[in-house]
Symmetry: D2
Subunit: 306 residues, 4 copies
């Protein structure tokens, strides 16, 4: 029996990069949090403490910042792919790189009905994310792009039921044909390898359309359970977006309990709720095409299903 090094990765997490475009008086800003990680045969560093193969995380940080100027920041997916390829090229023993980018949205402050040139306010409209995993380089290069968002909190005040469920001796939950449905949604979708390889995905357009569609479908679908809502949302995305191979959801069921006001002689027909924190239901699901490309390392080290 021998003891060996297994899966490993290392990098610099949470570089908070703010990029200002100031070529004209009307500035643009981009607010990114970037994490990089390299994987490969780093056994010398682990077993012997020999760092000759290790590109320091400090160097990765420097590169992340410098590329924001040198290469510019277009779609976060392109920025991440460029960084991943660069790190693999710079680090001979690295056979893969993982770049995660989150973008915090800002909008212009309104002054006299106009968006100001250089003053901005953060809008809390969820955070756009991408996780890019590149394996190898040259002819063997395989790139995976998983994009999505975190922290989009949605709620339906009706149009949601939960009944007909399995019961055992520990079941006390009442069936209901009208409840509040709320979740703080994390959605991540994997782009088809072919589309990524061909480089013909319009990342920004795809993101905007998918996000709007997910919200719309959440609103439209009459919910029999959060599972069915999520599945329906994912199905619509796959129907309308050929560039997407699969979509995964992680959705806490943020329980809103109807408060019993009857001890005070007060009726409460679905009007006053206690919004609980913990425990919460947690629904995680994948919706995919049956002919979707293989994910390979696409989901590596991303919270949720792997």
């Amino acid at each position: 029996m021998a003891i060996v090094l297994g899966n490993n990765q290392y990098g610099k997490a949470q570089n908070h990069v703010v990029r200002v475009y100031r070529d004209t008086a009307r500035h643009e800003i981009r607010d990114l949090t970037v994490s990089s990680a390299l994987r490969g045969d780093f056994s010398a560093a682990h077993a012997d403490g020999d760092q000759k193969d290790v590109l320091p995380t400090d160097t990765q940080k420097n590169t992340v910042f410098s590329f924001a100027k040198e290469k510019g920041v277009g779609a976060i997916e392109d920025y991440a792919l460029t960084l991943a390829d660069h790190f693999i090229a710079q680090t001979p023993v690295a056979d893969g790189a993982r770049i995660e980018v989150s973008e915090t949205p800002w909008r212009r402050i309104e002054v006299d009905g106009q968006g100001h040139d250089h003053a901005f306010v953060q809008s809390g409209d969820g955070v756009r994310t991408t996780v890019v995993n590149v394996d190898g380089s040259g002819a063997d290069r395989k790139a995976n792009v998983v994009s999505g968002f975190t922290g989009v909190t949605v709620l339906k005040s009706t149009g949601s039921e939960f009944q007909g469920f399995l019961k055992d001796r520990y079941t006390t939950l009442a069936e209901t044909d009208d409840r509040i449905l709320a979740t703080s949604l994390v959605a991540r979708w994997r782009y088809e390898s072919q589309a990524v390889q061909a480089g013909n995905v319009d990342w920004d357009k795809s993101y905007d359309a998918v996000k709007a569609l997910l919200l719309q479908r959440f609103a439209e679908i009459h919910s029999k359970a959060l599972q069915q809502t999520l599945y329906g949302m994912g199905e619509s995305v796959l129907q309308q977006h050929a560039e997407i191979a699969e979509i995964r959801f992680s959705a806490p069921n943020k329980h809103h309990f109807l408060v019993d006001l009857s001890p005070f002689g007060v009726e409460n027909p679905g009007e006053v709720f206690y919004a609980a924190d913990r425990p919460y239901g947690l629904i995680e699901a994948t919706v995919l095409r049956d002919d979707a490309s293989e994910p390979g390392n696409a989901w590596l080290a991303t919270p949720g299903f792997c």
Copy 2:
């Protein structure tokens, strides 16, 4: 020498109340976090453990939820004042009550260009708050209302300098005539006692106008320091809002450091910044009328200056 009970208050913190208005198919929702506290001569409870004067925090919680139905939720200031008066009336030894309400904003989900009837998405546009302090009842009643917001993060990508400051042997900071200015603003303003007593403040209208004005002034003022920006913002509010006696700011100076890319042969003329978390500058200031009414207990137990 005797040991005695000094200032004290007790209550139920962070009741998360969601109120749905469903009188028509077009629902409205209100998402409130409510904390109540009573103060007065509760020495029997403290010294002897005798609870006869103590309205339980559980009862306070019940009341908070029931009033959301019985009295309804209009402006959070009115809801808070109603609760404060009620608790003082119910609790003979209480000579004051403090009610804090925070409201999380939601907006309708867009479907085909229309806001949906009963599906909502949280907008992250800061949290509206009010802290209401009522002392006494009847002819002696004094009500204070401090309203404001937390978590409004703003940034200027230019129009901000910092120079001409005091220097000592520990000063290494370079003077600058162009830097990023960013803060996650907490603003709280106290309404004039007379206006509160007369009951003629339009809380929602006042809140919307003050918030918009603060953002506008942040954008417009050429900043020589965060202090001067805040003062100018506060001054405009007092000039335009006779109903407001004073305004207080707590503003972390969220430092954005220009990254030195020269080791890589890359210029960085105000384009790539590292956004730091800690340490941060913290600027706190009060702007008030010189004939403002006395605050009394208005600022009791509210973070920041008292």
Copy 3:
């Protein structure tokens, strides 16, 4: 009517200083988070943007770090007092300074039953804090020291009741003679001005003794309510510590609800509890000597009562 600047302070918050003492092979470490703030007539900075009176927060940060070497870090109270006096001396218009220091505890890692010379593990035993406020200098100098801790979570599994309380139509809580009592305690005590002025408080010894006494009394006192427990704890501190003028508590009542297992035919005689997060009771109280010195600015800008 004129608009004027009211209370204000500014400084550098949350400088995370780690100080290593390495004079011998047996190192010592101190892990401090330090916030400084100056107050006074900074109206030129606010009204005109003139920074000539403003010692930059960056300079304050530099000083905090340099003093950790120049002056060393003994008791956090002494370190804070030294910084406060220094900042007042350096800044002509400052008439007061507030220094807050929190210390995270570490202990030596055990190797073969011995504490290691230079390897440490964080112990989560609450965080020791001090808030020092100095007004003026020379003969007019007045120094206030408020020390304490945050985040000490304690629980009694019996020896706690809650009954005989005031009831109204919203009261549904059952009386109980046996419940879990738990809180995440914040305690802050103010040292007598005379003792501070005389410089004869042994800060470390006082802190250790007060903390141990508070825990002991929490354990010993049969609780009729959290109020009575806190009062009893404070009373013991004042009885045994002549150097302390008053003590303040902020104590969330961390509710543990007995779970109803009867639907499953299971008895639950005080054995299985659901520990809730929100809402929680919040009890705040001051215990003081009736001849305590005036607090002046001692509690300025410290969360809780002021």
Copy 4:
């Protein structure tokens, strides 16, 4: 092309269970946070909204609490395995269950040198965790147990270097033969399938020994990089614990930057550091036996490598 349901799981997250053992006057308490999740062919629930196969998360919650009484809480691993088997048995379409338990440590409050019978204080000594995954039942049952801890923060004030690393044009980091090494360690180890199946692991003893050994090795190993330290720690665990198949680490490199005090004429020979929050290095590594059993679903949905 068809759209299908892929991996999915659902359950109740973060049930906060406090279990009191009060058979004698000397109470014991256990403070657990429990998350359950079921996986399998829940396509009817997703595609059609038919809940007939779905054991509600509310029922899972009830079971978690009731089992704390019915089965008692011994080692968290046994408690989790019992729950997993139960849920699979109760839910015909479930082919797997994942139970995660975290235990917050408490110790007795000292009174007169003795631990009190029923008063406790939380010790912040990291949180013990287990993730149990069971697939199937009866002869086909496969159980995986991954135990470990989160939030153990350790620091070496010397005995750590970082040099000889790979350099490129973005490398500015200076080599060093003496730096602070600190991390907030997450360690998770997978028990050998055979040992789990045989039921002969002493979970508590194994946990205590592994944790102590990891701390000891962190202290003892002269570090050439965090990678080498982690590998050495893992190697020792595998050498001494035949019951363990592999161990995985997630270790943020909590940077401590030496502060340049030379502008103030102050030397700083490794004594005053600025402890930074972000960005941080993040080192993740697996150490395993080359004949380790297959992990199967052991690492499903656990943050880090899968």
